[in-house]
């Protein structure tokens, strides 16, 4: 089994890291995209990218944060790519979808929020992370996270009560 040495000297296999963190990564990707297949793809891609850079990670304790950050960034790219595709072929592609897997107005409303507001709500509430942890993943300040959450909650309420 292929292994790598972490900064603390502990040997961890890719499989072990994957088994430990993949469910969280996939869940966040699913909550952000609403698409289980896409969430699976994004999770695998995130692992490929982060594990491929083992030698560059300075804090292995923060592996989970790196991974979640990569998932959020890949999700952002996913939506941007879709937007670009629609831009080039406005008549060929379906209208923006929200959350195809669920018949749930909350989930649906979440899918219509701006990306960063959605990410802030998913991380703060669905994942129950602190403002500090959320800020680390979103690479912003706690103050900015609080602002995103406040605005996100207001926008989400508007979406589901519309």
């Amino acid at each position: 089994m292929e292994t790598t040495i972490t900064a603390t000297g502990r040997r961890a296999s890719f499989e072990e890291l994957y088994a430990t963190h993949a469910p969280d990564a996939r869940r966040i990707a699913y909550l952000l995209t609403g698409d289980r297949d896409k969430a699976e793809d994004l999770t695998q891609e995130a692992f490929i990218r982060v594990l491929g850079r083992f030698g560059e990670l300075r804090k292995f304790d923060a592996f989970r944060t790196y991974l979640m950050r990569t998932v959020v960034n890949l999700t952002k790219d996913h939506f941007r790519r879709r937007s670009l595709e629609r831009h080039h072929a406005p008549t060929q592609l379906p209208a923006p979808t929200t959350m195809p897997d669920r018949d749930d107005d909350l989930f649906d409303g979440l899918g219509r929020l701006p990306e960063r507001q959605r990410a802030a709500l998913v991380l703060r509430y669905c994942e129950d992370l602190s403002a500090h942890q959320t800020a680390e993943i979103l690479q912003t300040t706690e103050k900015a996270v609080k602002s995103l959450v406040t605005r996100g909650l207001a926008a989400l309420r508007e979406e589901i009560e519309r």
Binding site: A22, R27, G52, K59
Partner: protein, 413 residues
């Protein structure tokens, strides 16, 4: 009133309950290992480079000494130091195929022990990253006191000023200046020519306030008309029925007519690759005898759609097998136009920009620089289109790329 915060927590719990550990596929393992091997190799080489005190680059440039004076480049100012901030006012007007636009402002590196933005290998938060879908990327980095690699340099122009394109280890770099500051555009996992074209397609971000959107602003077609008003008029003329290519039950006659009138392909063969309720994706081959599974001669993709009810238009064209225009970047700022494209080995190309029946056409010759720049003789105040016809040595069209343009300033690649 609903307790949204509680509902969100419950939502997280429900999804968590459904979780199972996903399988780690062999493909994922293989790709991780490949990346790991690459990373280790680069790290070892970087260490070796530093040990010898030389300048070394592994995808990015690694400074041997941050205080090293930057050797003066011909036509480039020397480094101006900290006042040179992130190049937030740039935008690409050309993105090679498969690239994603992701120019964004870094946070200055505060607390960033991990670059964060996928695709970036630098030590500080990157001011801008352009990522390629399969893992390559280009980073736009503000002025640093870093020496530029010597040898195999090519002089190009970026933002209308002299710039240098050079090889770095496993990648390429462009050095250019703006407002007295020096920037490095670092690329990894792409080809040199792509980076050169991309760099020359960089433009300062427009500060113009967009005009009020015109009526029918969402109209999107390139031929025979590029505005809703003109299309309504065009569609109301002529016969309706089996003999009228625009009102035919199939969109094939529209694609064939486009080939005949625009590409000079009088004997074209159209193969419907995908049907949609409002149009089709059609492979148009130059020769009707080119009937095999794959085209052996010139061929393009033509997307037809129902721009006006009951009447077909060509929405876009692209090289085979792409289903949308790729390898093309278009920027319109005021009357100023920049178009960069992958010439696909063309000897020449006709580059056409049109808005509401007013057309500006330019000829690009192999060896000419890119992007093609010109000034429109009219305001782009309606919807419009671009169309690039790639020609061989005999002047015959062998490929094409074209798509709709919105009114006013626009930039996309």
């Amino acid at each position: 009133m609903r307790d949204i915060e509680k509902e969100l927590r419950d939502l997280g719990g429900r999804v968590r309950d459904e979780d199972a550990v996903p399988l780690l596929s062999h493909d994922v393992l293989r790709r991780i290992r490949l990346r790991r091997i690459g990373t280790v190799a680069m790290s070892l080489l970087a260490v070796a480079g530093l040990a010898f005190g030389g300048t070394y680059a592994a995808g990015v440039l690694i400074a041997t000494d941050p205080n090293t004076a930057v050797p003066a480049e011909e036509g480039l100012p020397t480094d101006k130091g900290p006042r040179c901030g992130p190049p937030v006012d740039f935008r690409p007007t050309y993105l090679p195929e498969g690239w994603l636009e992701d120019l964004q402002v870094g946070d200055g590196g505060g607390g960033a022990d991990w670059p964060g933005i996928v695709g970036h290998y630098g030590n500080d938060a990157p001011p801008g990253t352009i990522e390629k879908a399969d893992g390559g990327f280009a980073d736009l980095i503000a002025a640093r006191k870093r020496p530029f690699p010597q040898g195999n340099k090519e002089k190009i122009r970026v933002l209308d000023k002299p710039a240098s394109l050079a090889d770095i280890h496993e990648g390429y770099s462009v050095q250019f200046s703006r407002h007295g500051c020096r920037y490095f555009l670092l690329a990894y996992g792409i080809v040199r020519e792509e980076l050169g074209r991309f760099a020359q397609g960089l433009r300062a971000r427009s500060t113009r306030v967009p005009a009020e959107p015109a009526e029918d602003e969402n109209f999107a077609a390139i031929w025979p008309e590029d505005t809703a008003d003109a299309a309504r008029q065009g569609c109301s003329r002529g016969p309706r029925g089996a003999n009228d290519w625009r009102h035919h039950s199939s969109t094939v006659p529209t694609a064939v007519e486009f080939g005949r009138r625009v590409l000079d392909w009088d004997d074209a063969l159209a193969i419907v690759r995908r049907r949609r309720p409002d149009g089709s994706t059609i492979e148009l081959r130059k020769s009707a005898s080119d009937t095999g599974g794959e085209a052996t001669g010139p061929a393009i993709i033509v997307n037809t759609h129902e721009a006006i009810d009951g009447c077909w238009s060509v929405g876009s064209v692209s090289r085979l097998p792409d289903r949308r225009p790729t390898g093309v970047g278009v920027g319109v700022t005021g009357r100023s136009v920049d178009i960069a494209f992958d010439p696909l080995g063309a000897e020449s190309a006709s580059v056409e920009i049109g808005y509401g029946g007013r057309v500006s056409t330019h000829t690009w010759q192999a060896g000419d620089g890119q992007p093609v720049h010109f000034e429109l003789e009219f305001e782009p105040d309606t919807t419009g289109h671009f169309l690039i016809l790639m020609r061989d040595a005999t002047g015959a069209v062998f490929s094409a790329a074209g798509g709709p343009l919105p009114a006013g300033d626009f930039s996309a690649g």
